[in-house]
Symmetry: D4
Subunit: 256 residues, 8 copies
């Protein structure tokens, strides 16, 4: 047992059988596998709230029940993503009453500990109505971790005036997530209008040469607005995580 | 000789050696290759002015001299595209004085017959300054065939107000060509602002995941503005051709 | 309220509290977000008829009922695309009697206001019988907006004489839409035969290295006939929109 | 003239020829093109400092001289990216003495106005030595806009202990930019170690199936560490922009 | 009526109302569309037997019944490809007794006229057992048009001795079709062993980076054995067509 | 009959009808097809144990019964891969009692002859829980052929400490198989930690720009850890084969 | 020595030391590596004339001299492909006088033995003038091996009448090679016009989305004319090889 | 200073100021960044000999001189890969006399300490002569680390008998590296012939649809011979590394 090895080493110092200097030399030679104590600080990830998430796709109802129960005991709060309605219906009875299932974003939220912070607003904008599920996943995720969120749907560039009508909303946000499929043009336009970090999420909305979201993804990676943070296709969850991390940085400073 | 064959056949009818019915049967049996007269109406393509063009890339100065001379004799007007400056300098002495070489678009124009029409304005807009060579090729091409042209450069979506400042220019045009690289977002925005045909030309401007223009091309094919006419990457010439064809349709009707 | 802000400003002029010049200066400084009135002219898009369309894929029958009802009230005419037969059967009872459902193109048309114009003919040609659904979508769309249409199916290049037998039909059209899958060769041939704008629509017809229409799409983008207007794969709707826009330009001028 | 139109309208109110209400109705109907005053707030982009940048690739020395001179007059500070040494040598004599040319990142910096802020540290880590030019571009960019930066080169995952030796550096940063080519694995590891926003920049370093950086790009988009902000291939500039925007959000709040 | 137009023209010569020369001038002006008689020789394609084929995928039983009946009347022989068993069962009662349905290759053959020729043997070899459906389609097709066929299945390069045991079979064939998925290596080996034309057919057999047959397709296009005739993925029908065309060329000459 | 041909030749020597030299000359001229005896040593592949495997996907229960029965008679041991549960349930009654079906890896093992060797340990590590089916297939395969195996699941790089906690397990293995989807980063890290051969298996786990495993595949091919042995996407079976082949080489030498 | 081993075996029969039956058993056991005599019939490949070819790209002049000299001694005839003019000028002095260098197709032919056959005509058609180098390579290759060839250049589908004027040439050929870049449409048209084998060669002519010939390649693989034999991009040599192989099959039978 | 921290801790135990148990608790809480001693065992990688390599591409002569000098001092042996002849000529004077530069594989070897082991033979086979540079890089690499190597060039599958003539060489090897471009078929054939680990290296040899080695890479990943270890395109170095690692495993056990 590794811990025991170290304990014996330390005991030998106390016993006078080993000088501290020699013990140090031995510690230095220990390979990683014996350093059971050399763990990454788990509290760190708990603090940022980004770890308690279940990716539900492909898991059976029984598996989900087990994981959810264990998580509730361990940390009180649970976020499940990609939870199909059928899975949810099977799982429902095992959930505490105050759970929230969002059938659009396919997310499950159980929030028994308060994570709400004084952090600013994460605005989630989407180009078309078909992009809403991904946009909702981003919003639910950011909210779960403690951000305030606001949404602005169906403001795609083919009717760009719909966006301009909402410039005040854009400017109040501390981080903006822009979700778009097809030509993926909306984040470029938003990136030119605001000076806050913009996170671009391509969706698989579209057909033919949209290639399941590749079209939108490439547009975002090649945006003429410098510094867009691009996510994987349909990855609303990742966008929510990043937005919250950024939001936290400004938590105290931004009076607004 | 095919023509002679037919002539003999017809003569035989006149001579009474053949009934019309039997001649008809023989005509029916003629394979395509003997129907020298069954040509496509060449005057048609001349009329639209789309045929007298030299693609100069990869041709030697000597080859170019030969082709230009022959074309000048045949039709008076010449458009050369993709003519590098070095090729041009070698070719220059052999050209009539009134030629115009455009070193940005790499085009050569010799216009000895007037092709100007009463057709409306073809507006050529470009997203960035690096897109100008392709935009210029489109404008030169449309003008060569007889359209009026106007240009609007550097109005990309990262600074969308630059476009809105020129809405009057947009609305005066009968056809709009929009040239953009990188995210290829500009045509989608323009397509949502005007009700005239919009031709989208992706350029190879960009790097990395721009993939030599693929990013912009896909964005245009997947535009959320319905009905964009998309061209091949860097194909300003094709855009000019199409714009002029469309422009001609409205030649008489549009009083403006 | 923004409108109120402006109203007060104008009132102040009337009241003599503000000179027109000073009011002008204040108006200039208003950011976009306060310009609620600065909308794009909606009448423009209504005039071209390109906005009243429902993309039905993925929508529930209930959602469709709501949208159709709202549209009928607002504008009288409705075009629904990608409406599967099952969706239609659920929706049917809620539709006015004079609706037309096309099971080949999966389109629904309700036309309570006359949009027919004196515009010329949009010819829709298809290479194979499997391309007909996309071709029909293009034709239905152009007709819905007010164009006359004509169709020419199964005239692919493997039996090119079938096309040549119909040259008169080709030449009567003001715009030609050419729909083809597999090798996507037909638009190139048509583009060499007519001097009118040609719109090329690749379809996902084919297998193996057709890659869901990529083969045909690339062929069209790289056509040796200059100036083809290429659409996204299977995008008959976009082709119909563009064809109608072009057609309108020639509405008055073309006696034919 | 648009401005005149508005002025006349306002004058008519003053003159009593028009009620404010009627003037308001007319204003609402004005299309965009008449709203010359409806400009986006330019000061906004100046404030974030992200606009005064010259992309030098492909520009002649003469062009560069012109642009630099104009920028120095307008704003005092200049950042040039992708400036090849040959371009720089031609340009050098026209530059003020206090310019800095970085031959690794191919950047030119002229900083005549102080932009330094109290913002935290942007850490730029790179996987291999070949990734340093892109990493340097990111660092120079963030510094130019006012961030503090620190660098950590050659800490790729094939010798992961090199990274662990520098955990303290990682944890002091407010934003981490991770630059990697080939397998693009480093950002995933870093993303699992820190709770700050991580920006991932793929480089074109590698050969064969690295496909000019596509391999690294895909790895980053698909990272098992949720919420990486991915940039285009070799886009150190974009990463620097985003990092600075994020850094600014925490400017006041982070005592550290 | 076009034919009538010509007839009248010819009659006018007979009547002396028109000189042959003038009639010739008029004929020259006739556009394609009036040359109803200028058809491609249909008998040519019938002679090679390559035209009477039904691609059954996606057709309803009713449609298939109609087409089969019409074909039987017109030409006596029918080949249907990609006919799923369910389609076949619905169609069965409408078929003549002597039809043959092959459930492996999904082909239907009705041969009421003898097409057997003295042409040599088309050998169809396949690499694995999963490639057999495509190989069978090739064999059925070649046989339908009149070739003799022989098959050699499961002789892939991972057990190359299986092929060498059958060298006599390889050498007796006049044309060899080689069907392979996965690495697509077999055609290269066969192409190095025989001096007869080799037709390579990639199949979609494989998974992961086989990309639905792309792996095998590329291997065949890049074969180190010069002169392989490559077909589309899974295109056994095309291979059968080509093999038979080649086979016919040697019909008389090859005593064997 | 080939064997007879040789026999007659040899008999002729015995009979004095042919000198050995002349017989040798004749033997040299024999083409491959007559060398029925020139078979590859089948015992070789049996010895390595890599040949008795059934790829079950797409085979009917009846086909599977036949193949399994034949294999059991011939060699006693059977490995079936990609055997879906439904196939297994149909097949079950025909199997000997001592069979083992693994519903995670979809493998069937019947081991009637002992193949266990003194070969070292093949360690199979997986990045995420979704990669376990592929990892299990690799482990089952290596074990079937006679290797000892150990598994280490869910040690992906986003929580790299989980791997470091198990360094002793890593170092005890003679070959390490690393299975990962998404960013495919784990094999690079492992390759930097151990000096034993590392086999990398990308999985199709992931979505969007994971492109069914391409992302992980490219990361592995471009690993910054030199000398990774990369397999096809999801090819756990291949990894097990290779690991066992490598393991066998060290069978005697490694005391451990 | 292997041959000696066999010789001893045979001698032992003659000596009565071994029965033929026992010798046969020993022969059967010989592994491949001892069967030095079991070579593939080299005369076969010489007979078809497809082996004496030098791929010159990347070879030094000295290397080329060595290879050419050796080949001339061995077989009299030499075909060199991809021989750049600079390589040729260095090589020239070492060549026999009767060599032919074709600067368009970059081929070198030295024909000291007559290979001309009575085989029919291989027709090589090309779509554009830029496709001629590849077309010429195909023609030179087929001629080198003994075929008659004819060429038909610049008959692309954008001016399809140019092809129809030459139908007699098309029909006289026994095999047709069709070379095309860009949209790759010509082979489909030719395949619909003739009943002889058609070989399609895509070229890298084009730009943008031509992707170096991929566009043309896909069009040919997906041709609506069944049974096209498709070659690799720019592979005129392969087309010439295949055409000659096919042509030979019809050598005697085709009186023409 | 971290080391000091630990030292103080240990001293405190000796001093009786801290119990061993409490010290252990404190050690456990130390984050990674303080564990300066927790390094990966560097001797491990030195022992396998895989670390002392310089990738020379893109490095200046001065940089190379510095690195080589430092490495010679540190470890005595140096392997440089991708060293162009020009770089070498500049570097030459700074090298010890016993260096070896291989102009085919572009490798530099300086071997001042003996690494030769009793490990078995690594056989490197290549399909074509153009694949030799990559094959040589593999052989040089394996030899540098201490393996014996043997080479077998130009044994591609188009003349498969060349391989069979060398079966004895194949069977003597303990590991086989197979290098091939174009169709990448050779590794599949070799994998079916030997029961030793086979490492497949695709090369960028080929043109057109070879796509710079993708064709060969895919063929190898999809090999019908199970368990090929595939490397990146042109990665001879990686293959040499892996082969040597595998070879070492069998070092003692294999008497041969």
């Amino acid at each position: 047992m590794n811990e025991d090895t170290i304990r014996e080493l330390l005991q030998a110092i106390q016993d006078g059988a080993l000088t501290p200097e020699k013990a140090l030399q031995q510690l230095k030679k220990l390979p990683y596998e014996n350093l059971e104590f050399a763990r990454i600080d788990h509290h760190r990830s708990l603090r940022s709230g980004l770890s308690e998430v279940i990716y539900c796709r492909g898991k059976s109802v029984e598996q989900l029940k087990g994981i959810v129960t264990q998580m509730l005991n361990a940390q009180g709060n649970v976020l499940g993503t990609h939870l199909l309605q059928d899975q949810y219906l099977g799982l429902k009875e095992a959930l505490p009453e105050n759970h929230q299932y969002n059938n659009t974003s396919k997310t499950l939220v159980i929030q028994q500990k308060d994570t709400s912070s004084k952090a600013g607003i994460v605005l989630v904008a989407s180009a078309g109505t078909s992009d809403i599920p991904v946009a909702e996943e981003a919003a639910v995720t950011a909210r779960f971790f403690g951000s305030q969120t606001q949404t602005l749907f169906d403001v795609g560039v083919a009717g760009i005036h719909r966006l301009f009508d909402k410039m005040d909303v854009l400017h109040k946000a501390r981080v903006v997530i822009v979700v778009a499929g097809m030509d993926g043009a909306l984040p470029s336009v938003v990136g030119g209008l605001v000076d806050k970090p913009v996170i671009a999420v391509p969706t698989s909305v579209g057909y033919g040469a949209a290639f399941g979201g590749v079209s939108a993804l490439l547009a975002m990676l090649n945006s003429c607005s410098p510094g867009l943070a691009t996510m994987n296709i349909d990855n609303g969850f990742g966008a929510g995580c990043l937005a919250h991390k950024i939001n936290l940085l400004g938590e105290i400073s931004d009076p607004q």
